[in-house]
């Protein structure tokens, strides 16, 4: 929709530079989620959010660690009968660091909104919190796990950890798939098993 009185040239400028946060277009938003570079004339908030998200993309999930891709594929296979495709993460994610200035601004904003930077602990679903804990060092969720399931999970965790430590990606994938299956039909259980095993917490009594 063209603003009243705007020429087509003015419209192009309006559509790129005049976007406020809530009007960010879908292409920009998809690019943020995919880790693609934002265009130079992207709205300021879009660039900030893109940098913030990039800082969360741990190298752990970028294929830098041995066996990571095998584990990711095993996880995706465990939740889906459809063959997993290679991750479409763009290399721009690998920057992964906020500038000191932006980091300070984000910390200040978070503290202003929630009173403390770590106030999100418990605000996110437990498995997601654990995933964040593994990836970025966020506080772990305290997830109540039934004893039987915990023991079974610990055995599978140990199997997975051993397979991964031995460098046997195939065995690690199999172990992870078994773990995901044993975690139950719920999506949370699958993700929990994934997050537990990706951070190899077999010795942790409350989560193992």
């Amino acid at each position: 929709m063209r603003p009243p009185g705007a020429s087509s040239g003015e419209m192009a400028e309006f559509s790129l530079s005049g976007r406020a946060g809530p009007e960010l277009d879908e292409q920009l938003l998809d690019a943020m989620l995919a880790g693609l570079h934002q265009p130079p004339d992207a709205p300021r908030q879009a660039a900030v959010v893109a940098e913030m998200l990039a800082s969360l993309a741990s190298p752990v999930y970028s294929g830098h660690l041995a066996g990571e891709e095998a584990a990711r594929s095993a996880f995706v296979r465990a939740v889906s009968p459809v063959p997993a495709e290679p991750p479409r993460r763009a290399s721009s994610w690998l920057r992964g660091r906020l500038s000191v200035r932006l980091a300070a601004a984000v910390v200040a904003a978070a503290a202003g909104l929630s009173g403390t930077v770590a106030a999100y602990a418990g605000a996110l679903p437990g498995p997601v919190q654990d995933l964040a804990h593994y990836a970025i060092g966020a506080p772990a969720a305290r997830v109540a796990v039934a004893d039987g399931r915990r023991r079974a999970g610990h055995r599978l965790c140990t199997s997975y950890a051993r397979a991964e430590a031995s460098g046997d990606a195939r065995a690690a994938s199999v172990a992870l798939r078994r773990l995901a299956s044993a975690a139950g039909a719920g999506a949370d259980g699958r993700l929990l098993s994934y997050s537990q095993h990706r951070r190899v917490p077999c010795a942790s009594p409350e989560l193992a």
Binding site: V76, L98, A105, V106, A109, V117, L124, I136, A138
Partner: protein, 77 residues
């Protein structure tokens, strides 16, 4: 320098998570799965029990809210 930068990285990542936690839980969860775990809409949809389209819409809504939040807070690059 290394240790200081590591501490800054960690606390800023936690600050980003704190901002994400201001979103509705389903939007925050989907964005974390997309960004941190690197899953696509289809995989996230299977995990959270939504359609890929609904996942995309929820992610977009979350990002728009996040952009509005950083705008109000005056966060700049």
């Amino acid at each position: 320098m290394g240790a200081e930068f590591g501490a800054l990285e960690r606390i800023s990542a936690q600050a980003v998570m704190a901002l994400l936690a201001t979103l509705p839980p389903d939007q925050a969860e989907i964005i974390v799965l997309r960004v941190v775990a690197g899953l696509d809409n289809q995989d996230v949809a299977r995990i959270v029990g939504k359609t890929p389209g609904a996942v995309r819409v929820a992610a977009h809504r979350g990002l728009r809210r996040l952009a509005a939040t950083v705008d109000r807070a005056g966060v700049t690059l």
